[in-house]
Subunit: 412 residues, 2 copies
Amino acid sequence: MPDIHPRTLPDVRLLGFANRTSVDKATKWIDTHSTTLVSEQVSVEFAAGRVLAKHFVAPADAPPKDIAVTNGYALRSIETIGAGSYNPLLFCTQEDHRALKPSSTVLVSSGTPMPQGADAIASFDLARAGTDTVELIGPVTRGAGVSHQGDEAREGTLVVGNSRPLRPSDLGLLSSFDLTEVSVVRRPRVRLILTGCKSSPNRELGDANGPMLHALLARDGAELEVTTYAPPEQSAIAELIARPEADVVLVCGLTGTGPDDVAPLALDAVGTLSIHGVAMQPGGSIGMGSVNGVPVILIPGSSWHCLCAYDLFAGRLIRRLGGRSPQLPYRIRHVTVGRKIVSSIGNVEFCQVRLVSGEAIPLGSAGSGGLVSASRAEGFVLIPAPLEGYAPGASVAVYMYDEVDDMEGKCT
Amino acid sequence: MPDIHPRTLPDVRLLGFANRTSVDKATKWIDTHSTTLVSEQVSVEFAAGRVLAKHFVAPADAPPKDIAVTNGYALRSIETIGAGSYNPLLFCTQEDHRALKPSSTVLVSSGTPMPQGADAIASFDLARAGTDTVELIGPVTRGAGVSHQGDEAREGTLVVGNSRPLRPSDLGLLSSFDLTEVSVVRRPRVRLILTGCKSSPNRELGDANGPMLHALLARDGAELEVTTYAPPEQSAIAELIARPEADVVLVCGLTGTGPDDVAPLALDAVGTLSIHGVAMQPGGSIGMGSVNGVPVILIPGSSWHCLCAYDLFAGRLIRRLGGRSPQLPYRIRHVTVGRKIVSSIGNVEFCQVRLVSGEAIPLGSAGSGGLVSASRAEGFVLIPAPLEGYAPGASVAVYMYDEVDDMEGKCT
């Protein structure tokens, strides 16, 4: 496919990037090109990790009436005053669960409605059951064992927000309101085009990025439209970029300054290349643009560059489209720097770190490293563009790769 | 099915728990009844979140030889001394990538092997390319743009441990060593028996626990053998418990002190009920035992009790069987208590909290609440049995429900 549009950005091949876009500006580009997708209905059963299309408000009081929250004998608390093991008070046991007679009790189970007139539950250890009677050997506080109508939520109040993925407990809650389906944000459909991936020093044209990107896309809630291996040719890549149907197109590989790096030309040929080159390391050869309104992200093929560029930009785009938090999906741990972190001024740099005795120890200088370091690291530090790094003793935020880290040190 | 074994634990129905097992002792029971399962082969592509059967050590140096990690001109750094924009030094460009001639350069791409004799890469912004020559306008440091053989990992050193689920980047790394399959710990097969679930005040016999437990089991890496709804009868439950094939049997519902709470009797009839009643709130009516060597956990049917009992014990069992960290799978945030947390002495209690201005605000007293509170809470605090709670200003660990929490406050 020939170059039919005038190029808006310079061809960097064999020349290098004369100017790179700042991470902040590139982030703004992502944010202006990602509006939360429309909603779809899914079964509550399969809604974990999805984001509600809108807040869920209680359709009724919860609980809907006063209920027992323990097993025991429902009674009037005022009638238990003075009860003790030396002064047992006698109550009649009543079968009818509707209205409680004076000096009577009703055996109730947790979750069932309170009999009318009863205001407390005596637990079994306070009661000695006879045939038709119960001896109470201690007083019961008003409200003991009872959850009152609306205690948990009043009708019309918000119970599950739409600013986070649904938790397992949310599914239980939505089901408890008799919902079987919910309206959730549609998952972004991603077309993944792998091309000329120099993914590994062990293979010329590897697919190490395929499995990694699939797992990252799944983590961020994307749905894979298709994964295609494209030959390293501008026309072939351009043709795949321009196909309709996807919400996002990711091209992995051929983004850099080498003579074969034709992915930016391919996007430019069929759409708009808006950004090429971002002031970050690794991943700085990332490109962004669009074709027919669909955002297209060009991700470097070198695996560690690929991971960082994905996380910071492509992942953010996908998370935003899916209604999720745009932030990096790693928990943050604030720790002290244990050994100098070296970074170069002008780029946002990723520095992989191990946590040793609670201190961050860099695995090489910022921007360096690869997937081996990523596997050995507990997480990474992002060093802002104006800084030369961090001195020992500085406090830094570490983005932690794993959700739990109690195994710290076990894998060394 | 009749009661064929002598009961080893008292029947608590209508009597209450005379003694409860401590959380520590019950945790030890879980740990002695959960040995990591055997391994199975899976495609690297589908291995995210799985745990390796054993450490993966580098089968070769990584990188396997000196490679370029940037695009540019490979050369001898010593020959660039003195180069500057007023003193450009001329190099011949050489096609042959094998051995570098004196005063020559070879155009290389990131990821490709270094020509013999070259020890650095000049990036394109330091070079002015002619037809067969390159003018260098600045000196290049030895090692610039090069990753040396074994820089990332020496052959035989550990690169991915087996003490954590595989990360997306691990899949890339394993693929880069040409692995297509890996040996991982088998997923625990769980039989889930839902019975008499008083899961919701809105329905008598609901299945709110089904969707919630399915999501929890998926989170903890279990494979669902089957979910069965059992009638609230001892013989029916006993028959389902005793069926072979599962690694773990979970019975949800009918664990308490009410007249219908026959799950403990059902387990006792076909296996061993080792523990019934744990000093925790909610979830204290949990039971543990085994049938033919298979651990059986009896989980309370009330949803919030169900969630807590699952997380602390059933989930731990499943996480251990699957080779995962036994810890609660929530990240921990250390915060200050903003309003008094009230708890009763003698029980480990769950207290749901919101984080307001970085302080933990309890949603009711410890042990109280339900799924509405669980959805409104950012997380929970576990109050040890000997404590009456926490005063404002105390420092507590909050188990955070969500992985990222930058949206704090947005859903209120």
